[in-house]
């Protein structure tokens, strides 16, 4: 029993982090029709800035609040300076542009921080284990689960229940029509891009105490996030949730029973789903 609870919680914590990244990826695709290859690097940027913020201020909670908007601002600026000019081109150009941005950001972080991984201490209240249903479990991972569920619900409510969310959904559905009806499409795109980067940055700050901040965390998370959105369907927040849970579960149990081949399990699951739903569980045919 204790073992099952532990594995279940591990899967949920991993799924939570994956969701914070893949939700933004999916949102950007829905609104901008761009697959943001640099999305993982914003996650990494969040982790490194989180490390700096904690080191400077000694306040984890403050860092968790301050860093995501900074990452979001970097993202919004990059969108306004580069991506904005090439929306009319075929998708390959946008993918390559974000690939270039990923290289720039990744290498800048390497220049600034050097190649060693940076550890971040969780705040005192989240240190150490806690007993839960007979299992001894690290508090920090429980916090990750709570955080990602809260953020997930908040994002969903924002998109479904607010006026701004309505405009975003309108742009996602038909940007020309939204433009005609008076929505400022360019601004919506920039803000959504920035917000998605902020989500990834939040994921990065939250992940740092668990995984440390290290070079290469961006690409490893973006590949997982791609698998998540392929399973769940691009452009759907619910799809991101479902995909994150499936990938989180497959990786956790795979890592336990077949440690060397956890990724293979994930791909097998993805392959099986694709045979029946080529556009993902919640995606729509393009």
């Amino acid at each position: 029993m204790a073992f099952v609870v532990e594995q279940l919680l591990n899967a949920l914590a991993l799924a939570g982090l994956l969701f914070l990244v893949s939700a933004g990826l999916s949102l950007v695709f829905g609104v901008l029709r761009v697959v943001n290859f640099a999305h993982g690097v914003f996650y990494m940027l969040g982790a490194y800035l989180g490390f700096t913020a904690v080191k400077v201020s000694g306040q984890f909670w403050l860092s968790l609040i301050v860093v995501p908007p900074i990452v979001g601002a970097v993202g919004a600026l990059l969108e306004a300076w580069t991506l904005r000019f090439i929306y009319r081109r075929p998708p390959i150009y946008q993918l390559l542009l974000t690939f270039g941005l990923a290289l720039i950001l990744e290498e800048s972080i390497r220049v600034l921080y050097g190649p060693t991984a940076m550890g971040v201490d969780p705040p005192g209240i989240l240190q150490g284990p806690v007993e839960l249903l007979g299992a001894i479990y690290p508090r920090y991972r429980l916090f990750l689960i709570v955080l990602s569920v809260t953020v997930g619900v908040a994002v969903w409510l924002f998109l479904q229940r607010t006026r701004a969310g309505l405009v975003i959904r309108a742009v996602a559905q038909n940007s020309e029509m939204a433009d005609c009806l008076g929505a400022n499409v360019a601004r919506v795109r920039t803000l959504v891009f920035g917000a998605a980067c902020a989500l990834a940055g939040l994921g990065g700050v939250a992940a740092a105490p668990m995984t440390t901040a290290y070079l290469g965390m961006g690409i490893s998370v973006i590949v997982d996030a791609f698998v998540v959105v392929v399973i769940g369907g691009l452009g759907s927040i619910v799809g991101s949730m479902a995909g994150s849970l499936i990938v989180g579960a497959a990786q956790t149990w795979g890592a336990f029973y077949l440690p060397e081949t956890a990724m293979v399990i994930v791909y097998a699951v993805m392959g099986a789903i694709l045979i029946f739903r080529p556009w993902g569980l919640f995606g729509e045919e393009e």
């Binding site: 695709f29 697959v35 290859f37 580069t82 000019f85 090439i86 081109r89 998708p91 390959i92 150009y93 993918l95 390559l96 542009l97 690939f99 270039g100 941005l101 990923a102 290289l103 720039i104 990744e106 290498e107 800048s108 390497r110 220049v111 690409i219 590949v223 791609f226 698998v227 959105v229 392929v230 691009l234 060397e260 990724m263 293979v264 791909y267 993805m270 392959g271 694709l274 045979i275 080529p278 556009w279 993902g280 393009e286």
Partner: protein, 313 residues
């Protein structure tokens, strides 16, 4: 350009390729070999990217499979290099078949993400399968064996260069014939309007799978040349960065031109070579150049030159 001018240009290039090894210093010749190998890699990617309109973000995997296949054959069986080339290209094609079959179930950006995911999977396998691939160290000491059984040793740099040049020129000729064949026309029809292709009563998927495998075979050939040339095969050659760079070479040179990507690869490798001699953070500048090229040079070198040549004066 008129056919006569194209022919003249092709002859000039062939002449230059034949003469260069006698002019260049040893180090320069080795850079030229590098340029040709990556040119072949970029050209193979153009078959799917430029002619079929499919964005593969995992093409480095087949380059890497070619490199590993050839390295293993050379180290364990000590066969002539052409046997290793065949083995590498075949291995790439064999793995590409199921990956292509899966990935072409999806289109557009889903296809790109799937190819990247499979490539990272192959990268992980190369990284973890220590007994066969040497893990992160890779396979070192890959020998440049002979040209054929009992033939001359390819350790002679000029001979190796000519082998590489011959492979690249022949591949270019083969790919050119391929894209001009009815099969190639069908690919371009898929690129232009896949729905129309379907409504004309053809199923695009077999075409896509076949061209994916063909492109992987040529990428595998490039990788199979790379392993004996550099003397090693490591997981680095399957890394996502190389896949992205491949796409960038195609775009830089000119998408859908075959020759363009070869030029693009050359420009790209040279710039990298120059940058890396000045700074270890060349990736940063490569990134900046990427961004600028994507924004300001959409047709690539060849496309832009062509437009400039054909512009009314």
């Amino acid at each position: 350009m008129t056919p006569a001018r194209t022919r003249a240009l092709a002859l000039a290039v062939l002449g230059a390729l034949a003469l260069l090894p006698w002019v260049l210093a040893r180090y320069q010749l080795s850079i030229l070999v590098d340029l040709l190998i990556f040119g072949l890699f970029a050209m193979s990617l153009d078959l799917i990217l430029g002619y079929t309109g499919m964005v593969s973000f995992g093409h480095a995997a087949y380059f890497g499979l070619g490199a590993y296949g050839s390295a293993l054959v050379l180290i364990h069986f000590e066969q002539p290099v052409p046997v290793a080339l065949l083995a590498g290209a075949l291995l790439a094609g064999l793995v590409a078949a199921p990956v292509g079959w899966f990935s072409t179930r999806a289109t557009g950006i889903y296809f790109a993400m799937l190819t990247l995911a499979f490539a990272q999977l192959l990268y992980t396998v190369a990284y973890k399968w220590r007994e066969l691939t040497g893990g992160s160290d890779g396979i070192a000491g890959v020998p440049k064996t002979t040209l054929f059984w009992g033939g001359p040793s390819l350790a002679e740099p000029r001979l190796f260069y000519f082998l590489v040049a011959a492979c690249v020129v022949l591949s270019l000729v083969a790919c050119r014939a391929l894209v001009r064949s009815p099969f190639g026309r069908a690919l371009q029809a898929i690129r232009e309007n896949e729905r129309r292709f379907v409504s004309l009563g053809r199923d695009p998927r077999p075409f896509k799978v076949v061209v994916f495998v063909i492109a992987a075979v040529f990428a595998g050939l490039a990788g199979a040349l790379f392993a004996p040339f550099r003397g090693f095969a490591s997981p680095e050659v399957m890394f996502w960065v190389l896949s992205g760079q491949g796409l960038m070479m195609v775009i830089t040179g000119g998408i859908g031109t075959l020759v363009g990507p070869v030029l693009g690869a050359m420009v790209f490798i040279l710039v990298q070579e120059i940058l890396s001699s000045y700074t270890e953070h060349w990736m940063l500048f490569t990134g900046v150049i990427f961004v600028l090229i994507v924004i300001f040079l959409p047709g690539g070198v060849v496309g832009t030159t062509r437009r400039w040549l054909e512009a009314p004066r």
